[in-house]
């Protein structure tokens, strides 16, 4: 084994601006996606996820420009999620310089969309984002609308179906843990990771560097996503990598 585990900072973007308080010291404009992306790139982030949380679809075009700007200055993989509903949305993001797109609600509404997207653009760029909540011991279900709307779909079965339909990767968020800083839902992460043949990104709940380590060792995740732990400057990506390396995980060293 020498494929490195990945650390992926996630940025929420609203109408072209990074929100949810990125608080780096000495950053000129913490709302500028390009500047924030460059900072994470310098710290050794292995990929970046941009989540477009713009409410109005009129402002979707703004995200395309954000991706263009970031992709012309930061040379690591970029995933863009939020508002991806049609094949033309995917084409636009890939043309702008995104490497992958995250599909969430549109997949729940129409699973065939994932199949069509994978056939058209290749499985390598189709990330299916799954928001799951525990409903009983060892059982999780898919929720949409930021965890408010239940679908009755079993999360493990859904992940298997999505991989089968052509998802090249699963971005798994525990809605129970998201924002809690209590750590990933390791049982959920492990259940999905062991059920699908494609890579799984753990998300939701990171509060410490140890949580990242757990996500890989106990959750069997291939990559770990976090937001606030990095945004607030509590830890750098490099510190996270050092912590993971110290526990025997293979990480990419920053070669400058």
């Amino acid at each position: 084994m020498s494929l490195a585990k990945r650390i992926i900072p996630c940025l929420d973007v609203d109408d072209g601006r990074v929100v949810k308080g990125v608080q780096f010291v000495d950053i000129l404009d913490a709302g500028d996606p390009v500047e924030v992306a460059r900072r994470y790139d310098e710290q050794g982030a292995d990929e970046l996820v941009f989540l477009d949380i713009t409410a109005s679809s009129d402002n979707r075009e703004t995200m395309v420009h954000v991706v263009e700007e970031v992709a012309s200055q930061v040379f690591i993989p970029l995933t863009v999620g939020g508002g991806i509903r049609e094949l033309s949305d995917i084409r636009r993001m890939l043309n702008a310089g995104a490497d992958k797109v995250g599909i969430n609600t549109a997949a729940v509404n129409n699973p065939e969309f994932v199949r069509q997207a994978a056939e058209r653009f290749g499985t390598q760029c189709i990330v299916v984002a799954i928001d799951a909540k525990q409903v009983s011991d060892g059982k999780w279900e898919i929720f949409t609308h930021g965890g408010r709307k239940a679908t009755g779909i079993d999360a493990v079965e859904w992940a298997k179906k999505m991989a089968n339909f052509g998802a090249g990767e699963i971005l798994l968020t525990s809605m129970d843990r998201d924002g809690t800083r209590d750590g990933y839902d390791l049982a959920l992460t492990r259940a999905i990771s062991e059920a699908v043949p494609v890579p799984v990104i753990a998300s939701g709940g990171v509060g410490t560097l140890e949580h990242l380590v757990e996500g890989v060792i106990e959750g069997k995740a291939d990559a770990v996503l976090a937001a606030s732990i990095f945004h607030f400057g509590h830890h750098t990506v490099q510190e996270a990598k050092d912590a993971m390396s110290a526990r025997g995980l293979e990480m990419r060293a920053l070669d400058v």
């Binding site: 494929l3 012309s72 200055q73 993989p77 990419r252």
Partner: protein, 215 residues
Amino acid sequence: MATVAVIDYGMGNIRSVSKALEHVSGDTKVVVTHNAEEVLRADRVVLPGVGALQDCVSELKRLGLDDVIRETVCNKPFMGICLGMQALLDCSAENGGTEALGIIPGEARHFADQLKTIPETEALKVPHMGWNQVHQSKAHPMWQGIKQDSRFYFVHSYYVATKSDSVVSATTPYGFDFTSVIDRENIFAVQFHPEKSQHAGLALLANFLSWDGTH
């Protein structure tokens, strides 16, 4: 002014490739094109690509670029990236068998088919996605300034198996050592994405822009 043509046949991350080249291009002009004349005029050529090989090859043929590539690989520095590497082979196992350009003898095979024959590799995920080590099997001007076993970013489900070992320029371990770079004369083709591989990737692209096609 020297030019590098990035062949645009409507698939994948052409912009990422051209942006990364522009970042290191210096005096070289980066031309993104599907025009045969422009490709033939360029001093060096990059064939990028992600997605399905069948679509890639049929688009190249439709645009009349297959013969342009055959001519180009004989007389100027040529770099294939990801699908642009696999397109050089005879064929791929994709879709039950897809014919490619037949420039380098070999075929693309699915990882899962190989991994299931190797004990204790069943947990390895496909696509092979992320930063993995590239072990340079021989010296080449393209590796200048790039450390042995540097990590590059990969994302693919099929891997290249060439008929001859002499074209293998680097290998990468994923359950087994697969061929991640091939080279022959003025061809240098990589399975990973230099345009997404940060410092090491940009260094490789910069080397390509100064490589004269000899060894």
